[in-house]
């Protein structure tokens, strides 16, 4: 465990993190969260981005008159896609620039990696590399989730009846992964061996990319819409149950034939999960507004936010060093947790 995370001694002394949270008044549905350097950012249902740093809070109208539907952090910028059809990058200093304008079509998903940005509206998918070259493709059906592969300029797209793997810089047809049903969110394992989607049918689906072998991770009472990988790439956490469901990926076959761990059992549904970037600690957000940190090694738990009005936790993000966690809720509440050193 690194010094950035609460170490054993601190966890022994600290019984709660409630006093280390600065409340944020987002004022609208929080649709995404990220850090750009030292600045915490929340993307909002009123089209704004809320910036929060040592100097205070301010609001940037990134999508005037619109709503942010999808958002992703990308190093020093926060990329938002709105129902105004625009993909916008917001910097820590509050400056915004339009990455793309899809003429009023809703931006359903965004992804970012190493300076590249991708987005989708309906079936249309666009990938913009770090130099600004945009390539486009049409998926077989509407794309709900996009993820960049950890290596190479490659995208995984979740849609109906499966997923597509696309190399934007080649003219080759995307590689198709079939599985009946509606696939929503998408991610690759950090080692690139697996591609995982969340599904309409309250389950996760995975493909081992080497042989396209299917994996089904089922039993969720709700859709597991939030997925997060541990820093070592050995665990994948998911929402959709009354605990964070954490699947082991250490083995060659990933989680196949293995039972998941359950962390942070509470009488509420988990809506967001976010692994600490440097330690086996997971932040869990619930539908009663609570936020809890759980350490996987000993299952010790620390509350960061008690159940509160403001709706379910809808977005959560750690900063790069794992010192701070920002979160927001459906009805516009939020908070910035700074871990005690």
């Amino acid at each position: 465990m690194t010094s950035a995370a609460p170490n054993a001694t601190a966890a022994g002394a600290v019984t709660s993190l409630l006093d280390h949270v600065r409340p944020l008044d987002a004022g609208a549905h929080v649709t995404g969260a990220a850090f750009a350097g030292e600045t915490a950012m929340l993307a909002l249902g009123d089209g704004c981005v809320l910036l929060c740093d040592a100097a205070g809070e301010r609001r940037v109208d990134a999508h005037p008159g619109g709503a942010v539907l999808a958002a992703v952090g990308a190093g020093d910028i926060f990329v938002t896609g709105g129902d105004d059809g625009r993909v916008v990058a917001t910097q820590a200093n509050g400056e915004t620039r339009t990455i793309s304008d899809e003429k009023g079509r809703w931006i359903d998903a965004v992804a970012a990696s190493g300076g590249a940005i991708a987005w989708s509206c309906g079936k249309q998918v666009a990938a913009r590399d770090a130099k600004g070259n945009v390539r486009r493709m049409e998926a077989p059906s509407s794309v709900r989730g996009i993820a960049f592969a950890p290596k190479g300029y490659r995208l995984g797209l979740a849609h109906y009846n499966g997923a597509s793997l696309w190399f934007p810089n080649t003219d080759a047809a995307p590689e198709a992964l079939f599985w009946k049903g509606s696939h929503l969110d998408a991610c690759f394992s950090p080692d690139g061996r697996f591609f995982i989607t969340s599904m309409q049918e309250n389950m996760l689906h995975g493909w081992r990319l080497a042989d396209k072998k299917d994996m089904r991770m089922s039993g969720y009472p709700a859709k597991p819409r939030s997925l997060s990988w541990s820093h070592d790439g050995l665990w994948m956490a998911s929402s959709g149950a009354d605990a964070a469901i954490i699947w082991p990926f250490e083995a060659k076959d990933g989680p196949m034939g293995k039972a998941p761990r359950e962390c942070g059992v509470r009488p509420a549904k988990v809506t967001q999960v976010a692994f600490h970037p440097q330690a086996l600690i997971i932040a869990i957000g619930y539908d009663d507004g609570a936020v809890m940190l759980v350490r996987l090694t000993d299952n010790s738990e620390l509350m960061a936010r008690m159940p509160a009005p403001g709706g379910p936790v809808t977005a959560m993000a750690w900063d790069a060093k794992g010192k701070r966690l920002v979160f927001g809720t459906a009805d516009g509440a939020g908070g910035l947790l700074t871990l005690p050193v």
């Binding site: 549905h29 009123d46 709503a67 809703w106 059906s141 599985w179 049903g181 509606s182 309409q200 049918e201």
Partner: protein
């Protein structure tokens, strides 16, 4: 496939946004009706989900383009189809600040209403935030007879309706109108029917119908139903209504209903019912689309109200005798 809920979830969906589904064959007058609704001075804010931009648009409202993407749920049930784009759009709409007084979904003329309606049964997030208020079907009085011959969708659209707008009545003679109305009634005797020209109908007759207009099925006169049913056979769709004079046993009724919907779901287009359960002071109300059923205990039976139990099924090749026998066997 979902089972009937155990009962009791505090009844009628307070705080849920009502959704009106607007169907009708091509050229029947859907867009005219939609523009009429939106341009009335109702002071409400609607989100309108349309398939073609450009024809609709009122300042205060949000118009969203849809793709009518129907997909099969991965649950082994072929009739469990839902509108994926609708789930996505409603998810997006709920993020907007301020919200809406209502959502109106316009379907294409060729659309089967089942996937739209089933979306409101199958998706938990959609169910948590919205409720299907009514399916409104616009029917062209002049061309309906022809449509019923050449377009299977037209039958389903009428069968699904909670509100029927019999439009373009000025283009037919009174005799023709009576004949068309009889055809419509033979398929669906339960919907409220409005005769219109240029889709001119009071907004209150279309919006705010509340939970598929379930109360209405209790009001219908059996004589009228029988007459309506036997008069015409232009469609292979028929309706079956059975009333039990008094209470039924939920331990018999719910398993039968679930089982029946599972077995006959492909033929069963719509089902509805209001029931008096033995020893239960509240009315049990259910509705279904194909195999999907949704029901709960709602308000108390009023002291002056007679406790009766009634079910209505609309579908193809329904075995009237078998339904009657099975339902009556649930009587206490």
């Amino acid at each position: 496939m979902p089972d009937m809920p155990e009962t009791n979830t505090g009844a009628d969906a307070s705080g849920k946004i009502p959704v009106t589904v607007l169907t009708g064959y091509l050229g029947a007058g859907k867009t005219t009706l939609l523009n009429r609704i939106l341009s009335e001075p109702h002071g409400k804010k609607f989100a309108v989900i349309v398939n073609e931009f450009g024809e609709v648009g009122i300042d205060n409202d949000l118009v969203v383009g849809a793709d009518e993407e129907v997909f099969e749920m991965n649950n082994g049930c072929v009739c469990c189809t839902v509108r994926g784009d609708l789930i996505r759009i409603i998810d997006g709409l709920m993020k907007r600040k301020g919200g809406f007084d209502g959502i109106i979904v316009e379907t294409t003329g060729l659309a089967d209403p089942a996937p739209v309606a089933q979306t409101f049964f199958m998706d938990q997030d959609v169910q948590d935030r919205t409720r299907l208020d009514a399916v409104v079907t616009v029917v062209d009085a002049k061309w309906l007879t022809q449509r019923l011959k050449d377009a299977p969708e037209a039958h389903n659209q009428i069968a699904f309706a909670d509100v029927l707008i019999l439009n373009k009545t000025d283009l037919v003679t009174p005799e023709e109108l009576a004949a068309v109305e009889a055809q419509v009634r033979a398929i669906n005797p339960y919907a409220r029917l409005h005769r219109t020209q240029n889709a001119k109908v009071a907004i209150d007759d279309v919006l705010g119908r509340n939970a598929f207009d379930l109360d209405r099925i209790m009001e219908l006169e059996p004589d009228f139903l029988e007459e309506g049913h036997h008069a015409h056979h232009d469609s292979d769709i028929q309706s079956v209504a059975v009333t039990v004079d008094g209470d039924v046993d939920p331990d018999k009724f719910l398993p039968w209903l679930n089982d029946y919907a599972q077995r006959e779901g492909a033929n069963l287009l719509r089902s509805k019912g209001i029931l008096a359960f033995r020893g239960e002071p509240k009315r049990f109300v259910f509705q279904g689309v194909h195999m999907m059923l949704d029901g709960d205990l709602q308000r108390d039976w009023r002291p002056d109200e007679k406790r009766t139990s009634k079910i209505v099924m609309i579908g193809r090749d329904l075995d009237r005798e078998a339904i009657e026998k099975a339902f009556r066997a649930c009587a206490v």
